[in-house]
Symmetry: C2
């Protein structure tokens, strides 16, 4: 690829994060008007505090790849994915779960707002995400059928077969070694389900055909697994300061890809998933420099 054609991922990510954060501000303003006092600030803190915004960025990238340009409402749609992600982080960090003090370099919601408001604000983000996606689908001019498909996709990922199940399997696995198959299935649920949904929601929102939706789903699952392996590698090689959170899984004595396979083999497996992800796009004729660069970014990021 010549220099002139090279995709400037850093500039792309910065611009996308700006528009995603704008959409999240709008979404949280609407949310605040429906949440009572003890919940609103906890939800706002969780949604608005930093973060890579990877899920919304992937959602918008899928809309770009399969549709005809994006508008503000495309980012409003993507905000629904971040609501679900924020819910999962809030619950993950609770005292009865990972009991984390720090997330994205800042105190976790329960440290500031208390355990109950954090737990309930987290749960309230699930229906809020459904309503946000439904509203954005209307703004995008989706048919009710398409809007409902978007909401169903989101709710499936948020449900027990998705991330929540992965979180619980994860905790149940503390102090016991996971075998490789269990680790894969755990991470597919915990991270993969929502990354996969981020892509498919984007595709559904712009009316992508079945073949493209299938390819976006396979890309999302592969990238989700690569993401989790990369997380394990980061946990094994970083300290809390550069990571912005407590390196937790290894210290909690859970199996990780690194403990199971060693650093080199884990890196190899992450890269193999990136290859799978790119191949899925290629097979469906989805030509997106952003999605290709994002897949690389996911294993090469340093936090």
């Amino acid at each position: 690829m010549s220099e002139a054609l090279a995709f400037d991922l850093a500039a792309y990510l910065e611009a996308e994060r700006g528009r995603v954060n704008g959409a999240l501000e709008r979404a949280v303003a609407r949310l605040r008007s429906t949440l009572p006092e003890p919940l609103a600030p906890a939800a706002a803190h969780a949604v608005l505090t930093g973060g890579k915004r990877l899920r919304p960025i992937l959602c918008v990238a899928a809309q770009r790849a399969c549709g005809e340009g994006v508008v503000d409402a495309s980012y409003d749609m993507a905000a629904a994915l971040e609501f679900i992600h924020a819910y999962s982080l809030m619950h993950d960090d609770l005292p009865c779960m990972d009991d984390a003090d720090l997330r994205r370099g800042r105190p976790t919601p329960h440290k500031i707002f208390g355990e109950i408001p954090s737990m309930e604000a987290g749960a309230a983000l699930i229906p809020a995400a459904a309503l946000q996606a439904w509203w954005a689908a209307g703004e995008l001019g989706c048919s009710p059928e398409r809007g409902a498909a978007v909401v169903a996709e989101l709710m499936k990922a948020a449900g027990g077969g998705g991330m929540v199940g992965g979180q619980v399997l994860d905790l149940v696995g503390e102090g016991q070694a996971h075998d490789a198959a269990r680790l894969d299935s755990l991470h597919r649920m915990k991270t993969g389900a929502l990354l996969c949904a981020s892509l498919r929601v984007g595709g559904l929102a712009v009316g992508a055909d079945e073949q493209s939706l299938d390819a976006l789903g396979r890309y999302g699952r592969a990238v989700g697994l690569a993401f989790q392996i990369a997380d394990d590698i980061l946990d094994a090689t970083s300290d809390a300061e550069s990571l912005g959170k407590n390196p937790s899984d290894a210290s909690l004595d859970k199996s990780t890809y690194v403990s199971l396979y060693g650093l080199d083999e884990a890196r190899k497996r992450a890269r193999a998933q990136v290859t799978v992800a790119k191949a899925a796009l290629g097979e469906a004729g989805i030509d997106s420099a952003a999605l290709i660069s994002l897949a690389d970014f996911i294993v090469e990021r340093n936090r």
Copy 2:
């Protein structure tokens, strides 16, 4: 009313409970296939253990009142309301919330399955309810637009402006007296939002017009408030054995309608809400012996 024309509420409730329980068994069977091991039994326990099934019964009654007869799928639709109700009870009973050992005369889910699976199975019931309602809407032949309206109604009630907000306001209020306005608004959120949604979901599912939907909503809010006042009266006058749960609010030093107004005035206020509920139906020309009897039942029940 002559004897021959009198509505046999006891027989009606028994028959309806049977059909609702059948729909809940079907819904839980579907749910089990999507939930991982630690969550599935907790969710099943919460959904299937006893209960008045008031919300689904009201949902079906609204479908009957505004539609043309009911079928199994009408009860499948109603099951989604019980999912949300079960979620709220699971979270209400958690150690960090009310820390209740007993619910419907049986141990609470967290006593059997642990705190984390109960919290997460509870949260997983929210997206499961959305998917259940969407599926049932399809079975009922609803248009995607109508199906989506049903799901949106359900998610609004499940969100922070609905029950969750009420729960948290309730806990924040422990040990401090609520004034009457705050108590009303708390109970409207905590109980009223889901009862109101039960009625409106039923109406939406059968394509009721705006005037009827509005009347069903007003009926639901009034009946919800009457229900909560009746709960306070029951808490003040019953013991755990006849109630099937720990009489909790008074012992936790929260304001109740009884502590605020005394028994007689509380009873009067409950009956006034029943009158409001019936008037709402009358104004919209909704002729339903079941809904009228159910409104009476809600303040006259003994558990």
